[in-house]
């Protein structure tokens, strides 16, 4: 589904991603962990070209992102994105947030889009919030709406960029529940996260990023139980001590 080869990304003189190879299969859930500044979010953002890569190649669903004949807007509808800061549209109701993509990109009629929107809201447990505005929602509810908005394009993969990092601790669970449900339904997911419990429980594969490269990867049980890399051991020690 996603094939990243020898990805490099620099911001000015600062190289944040230094040669990353990453392959994600269909229906696979991949969690990316690692200290902040390790380049994990940057890689995620490169997958739908919110960041331009410096060198390397990214193929999503058999479309080379940097092939001039590739329509990037098509790729973006295939790869939904959920942001740390939710980025809901504050001037639109919850339902309209979800319907905007289907209406303007998928060219659904308003009736079809609203039907889809209400189904998705029910799915994330917010059916009764269709007509309120984002600022009347809690952080957890906002993020669930954002997930519904990403799902509305019926993407083949959803990229989650630290989806629970901006949430109050007691609101993290409800978002992870929705994500778990998606994973169980077979959605392909790439999740940058600090939630080790979630990674352990839901991920098919966990990838540890450090200083712009993949230091270690494996199935969660092994990676968490027997980390080989000292940096990973160190990282897990700190995260679990604080978690």
């Amino acid at each position: 589904m996603i094939h990243i080869k020898n990805l490099h990304k620099s911001f000015g003189d600062l190289e944040v991603v230094k040669g990353v190879d990453l392959h994600v299969r269909e229906r696979e859930v991949v969690c990316i962990i690692g200290p902040s500044g390790s380049g994990k979010s940057t890689v995620l953002r490169c997958i739908n070209r919110l960041e331009e890569i410096t060198s390397g190649s990214i193929v999503v669903d058999n479309h080379d992102l940097y092939d001039p004949t590739t329509d990037i807007n098509d790729i973006r509808t295939e790869a939904g994105m959920v942001f740390q800061q939710f980025n809901l549209f504050p001037h639109l109701s919850v339902l309209d947030n979800i319907c905007l993509g289907p209406l303007k990109v998928r060219k659904l009629t308003r009736k079809e889009a609203e039907l889809l929107g209400r189904q998705l809201l029910a799915k994330v447990g917010l059916a009764e919030k269709a007509d309120v505005y984002p600022d009347q929602l809690s952080g957890g509810q906002k993020q669930r709406v954002a997930i519904a908005r990403a799902l509305a394009l019926q993407p083949k993969v959803i990229l989650f960029d630290e989806p629970t990092s901006a949430l109050d601790p007691e609101l993290v669970g409800e978002v992870l529940e929705v994500m778990k449900k998606l994973a169980q339904e077979g959605m392909t997911m790439v999740v940058v996260t600090h939630e080790m419990g979630f990674a352990q429980e839901v991920a098919d594969r966990v990838i540890f990023f450090d200083q712009g490269v993949i230091k270690e990867e494996g199935v969660p049980r092994e990676l968490f139980a027997n980390p080989k890399e000292p940096r990973l051991r160190d990282f897990l020690g700190k995260v679990i001590a604080h978690g």
């Binding site: 739908n48 807007n73 973006r76 994105m81 942001f83 504050p90 639109l92 990403a150």
Partner: protein
Amino acid sequence: MSFQFETKVMGETLPLLMSGVKLTVIITLSGLLIGFVLGAGFGLLKLSPRLWLKRLAGIYVETVRGTPLIVQVMFLYFGLPMATGLRIPPLAAGIIAIAINSGAYIAEIVRGAVQSIDRGQMEAGRSIGLTKGQTMLYVIWPQAFKRMIPPLGNQFIISLKDTSLLTVIGVAELTRGGQEIIAVNFRAFEVWLTVGLTYLVMTMSIAWALKHVEERLSGAAGR
């Protein structure tokens, strides 16, 4: 010296000023309408990733902002015809001057408001497959527009008062109307007082109308 304030003069003056009021309103409204289109266009150009477009918009804004309106008006009405042979009627010249002038200031208002919208909004729009233009139209602009209203109100009021400068090219707007009445009755105090109050009523109407728009927008569309 025996000055006698006569309210009666004010009462007589007001109806005579009405044709001037009408012209002032016409110039202000059409000038600002065109000015807003110019401002929106050049404001967005200022945000263009293409350097030459950005420069072009920059030159427009700096030129207009850096020269007095009265010079712009004189240049347009007296200067340009000499070079081009094309004579613009005073009213049209006045509207064009107000449009070009307000457009430059509105461009800065538009640029600032659009820039103030969080970058995540553009990213979220792009992430659901909207093009850059669609994201601007459906996501960024509606939010930015709300933020533009207070500074736009300010600019509308300034432009309305600026129309008084068009006296110099003989446009029979409100200030010119006042001068003509004084030339006949010599009652400068009453006439300028009436003219001033008339401007005040118009500017306060603008302020009131925009406050209304602002309240409606924030009521109907969340924050």
